[in-house]
């Protein structure tokens, strides 16, 4: 195997993991926002349900950004304090 093959294999693994992660996040958002916004499913997804779902999704993604930032800040503080990652999960 030459190094180019190794590089390609790594990219492929990273691509698959990223696709899997996005799918999981979308699944979670669908579950959450469907439950919250489509309380009585009608003949079609009406405008208010769509608006609610859009807001729910956007605020969920905002929340994820904040949680990631809090996590990163904590990991950084812990690394600076000389501790390992213990307790972070």
């Amino acid at each position: 195997m030459d190094d180019k093959d190794i590089h390609e294999a790594k990219l492929q693994v990273q691509g698959q993991l990223a696709a899997q992660y996005i799918q999981e996040v979308m699944q979670k958002i669908t579950d959450k926002c469907f439950e919250r916004c489509v309380t009585r499913p009608g003949a079609k997804l009406d405008d208010s349900e769509k608006l609610c779902t859009a807001k729910c999704m956007d605020r969920y993604l905002d929340s994820m950004t904040l949680v990631s930032q809090a996590w990163a800040a904590r990991a950084k503080a812990q690394a600076a304090a000389g501790g390992g990652s213990s307790g972070l999960m």
Partner: protein
């Protein structure tokens, strides 16, 4: 093209997979924590995350991590007492 990776390449791939695996575990934990804090803090999603919601999310994530550390430490202390 040789199909078999060399020893050095095998080690490199092993390290790569361990790192990716660790990243996936962290992503999972962040995803789970997002869901927990979203449920606690964003009861009625609006046009933007307002400051009290944003505060609540940051506190929720921080206190969850504190709780996790607290429980790990307490469990270790308990085991030492035995």
């Amino acid at each position: 093209m040789d199909a078999e990776p060399s020893d050095a390449q095998a080690r490199e791939l092993q390290t790569f997979m361990e790192t990716e695996n660790q990243k996936a575990i962290i992503q999972q934990a962040i995803s789970k924590l997002t869901e927990t804090c979203f449920d606690k803090c964003v009861t009625k999603p609006g046009n933007k995350l307002d400051s009290s919601e944003a505060n609540c999310i940051a506190n929720c994530a921080g206190r969850y991590l504190d709780s996790s550390v607290f429980i790990v430490n307490r469990m270790m202390a308990k085991r030492q007492q035995q």
